[in-house]
């Protein structure tokens, strides 16, 4: 059980995020926030009114709905709790999305073993514009991005079945987030494969003298989670549209994207960016080539490549560029983890040196007396 003190601290670091989300009630007459949110409300409303799973979309003239269903089912369940008021339920979800960064706390705890560093990650993530605007609105992306770090945590802890189940849940919640997870797991396989080929040793974190081999369960879990996610999604798309080719969708066809320039990076947040890069440097200087280190590198690398995916356009012009700026939020997640490590370690080394110096001055004074 979580200690009361830790729970209180978690609640405390969630307060800034809660304050931001309460803005949703600022507009009293209608609080469905901006675009793309109401279509889920009408779907939930339709489900509650008819009692049948709607296969058509109230937007775009009532065409078949390609949205994967888990977020909508959650909204429907919350609306049912509030006497069928799906608009109010959507606002309740907006406020409840404050728990979104909890997965980051778990990831930090898994890789450093320190709960308090995890709290810093939560705080940092709440100050990243790019991350907050996608996790503080009643959209499938909020739920997907809440589950993504949880999937990472489960994998790092070696809970492979749970990782696979979470990746399937993400696939049925938000396609873009599922894509990020599948790419991270694939990148991890690739990096581990390269390290194996180079016969580079991977060191145990708990015992730096012990050379470990990556558990074969890692390979199996990565392959299972990625292949099942792809099969699940394609089955859904095939069921709804009768077409398995994702590249025929308008998003690919018209290359929805906005190229990420250097100045866009500031939208991730100064804290996230500065201490995230510092933290990554500190982490790899200490960790070396470890299993967790390779996994975190995969996460970071995928996000960096994703925000600059227009660079792959010469290789695959029919796919790239695609949604470059939309991946900034995912980069902010992984940078929040590294920022927590950076802030904690810099402070610790400064405070430690100060304490050490104070102790030695005290000893010198005593010896002089």
């Amino acid at each position: 059980m979580l200690e009361k003190r830790k729970l209180a601290l978690i609640l405390l670091v969630l307060v800034p995020g809660l304050w931001l989300r309460l803005q949703v009630f600022r507009i009293g007459y209608y609080t469905v926030t901006y675009g793309n949110t109401a279509t889920h409300i009408s779907w939930a409303d339709l489900f509650l009114r008819t009692g049948q799973f709607p296969l058509w979309e109230p937007s775009y003239g009532g065409k078949p709905s390609l949205y994967v269903p888990i977020y909508r089912l959650l909204l429907t369940a919350v609306a049912w709790l509030f006497q069928g008021d799906a608009i109010f339920a959507s606002n309740v979800i907006t406020v409840a999305s404050v728990v979104s960064p909890i997965g980051l706390l778990l990831v930090v705890k898994a890789i450093t073993g320190r709960f308090y560093q995890g709290l810093i990650a939560v705080l940092v993530s709440e100050t990243s514009s790019q991350l907050v605007i996608y996790t503080a609105r009643p959209l499938p992306q909020f739920l997907g991005m809440t589950m993504l770090p949880i999937a990472v945590y489960l994998f790092l802890r070696g809970r492979y079945v749970a990782t696979t189940i979470t990746s399937l849940l993400i696939t049925m919640t938000h396609q873009e987030t599922a894509l990020v997870l599948v790419l991270v797991l694939s990148m991890y396989l690739l990096l581990i494969g390269i390290l194996n080929l180079l016969k580079k040793p991977i060191w145990s974190r708990t015992n730096p003298c012990k050379r470990i081999s990556v558990p074969s369960a890692d390979w199996v879990a990565c392959l299972a989670a990625t292949s099942l996610s792809i099969i699940f999604y394609l089955s859904w798309q095939g069921l709804i549209t009768g077409n398995l080719n994702i590249f025929t969708l308008a998003q690919f066809k018209f290359h929805e994207h906005s190229v990420v320039q250097w100045n866009h990076l500031i939208e991730i947040g100064i804290t996230c960016l500065v201490f995230g890069s510092t933290g990554a440097t500190i982490f790899y200087a200490r960790e070396g080539v470890s299993r967790n280190g390779v996994f975190m590198a995969s996460w970071l690398l995928v996000c960096l490549l994703a925000i600059k995916n227009e660079l792959f356009a010469p290789i695959a012009p029919s796919i790239f560029p695609i949604m470059c700026d939309r991946f900034l939020a995912y980069l902010a997640q992984v940078l929040s983890v590294f920022a927590a490590i950076g802030i904690f370690n810099i402070y610790k080394s400064l405070a430690h040196s100060a304490r050490q110096l104070a102790t030695s001055s005290y000893e010198i004074e005593r010896s002089l007396l």
Binding site: R26, Y30, D45, S59, A86, I87, V124, S128
Partner: protein, 180 residues
């Protein structure tokens, strides 16, 4: 005080400063994303639709993206545009430009033809759209002449009006697309 202690305190201050700066930026950007764009009259009109007009999958509305969202969420009836466009097939992308054209065209004939093309039963018109409407590409200004065509033609029949005669700057009209 010890120099290193001062350094560690200074570091904490720097971190807190960065966090505060970022938090202010987040608050600012989130305000934009929490903007419903539509005004009170539009929401009232959507509830009026729910109570007074036929609703369901077969009753389609033409509106800008934000009014479409209000109509969808309150009435459950579909709109020509609205929601995530990513699942649209490439052949359906004409919805965006045609929706815009329904409102910006000065000819009632053109607007009516486009309504028929997309199976529109009602047009949802708001004063707000004159200065700030959005059809999927950019914010659009609808000229007054384009607005007036809906009222000076037998192509469209007025079924709802919320115009405030005192102020005359806000208001919503719902027009039935007549069989022609």
């Amino acid at each position: 005080m010890d120099r290193r202690l001062v350094l560690s305190l200074a570091f904490l201050l720097i971190v807190s400063g960065c966090l505060l700066l970022d938090y202010r930026a987040v608050s600012g950007s989130l305000t934009l994303w929490y903007d419903p764009v539509v005004d009170r009259d539009e929401v009232r009109a959507a509830y009026w639709i729910k109570d007074n007009l036929p609703i369901g999958r077969d009753v389609v509305y033409a509106a800008d993206l934000f009014a479409s969202e209000v109509i969808m969420s309150i009435t459950g009836s579909p709109a020509v545009i609205g929601g995530d466009w990513s699942s649209l097939s490439a052949s359906e992308m004409g919805r965006f430009m045609d929706s815009q054209e329904i409102f910006t065209a000065q000819s009632a004939d053109v607007a009516h033809g486009l309504c028929e093309r997309w199976g529109v039963d009602y047009v949802f018109l708001s004063r707000r759209m004159e200065v700030r409407s959005y059809f999927g590409y950019e914010w659009v200004h609808i000229p007054k002449a384009s607005f007036d065509k809906f009222f000076n033609s037998q192509h469209f029949g007025l079924v709802y009006s919320s115009t405030d005669p005192v102020y005359g700057v806000r208001g919503v009209w719902i027009l039935r697309v007549e069989e022609w």
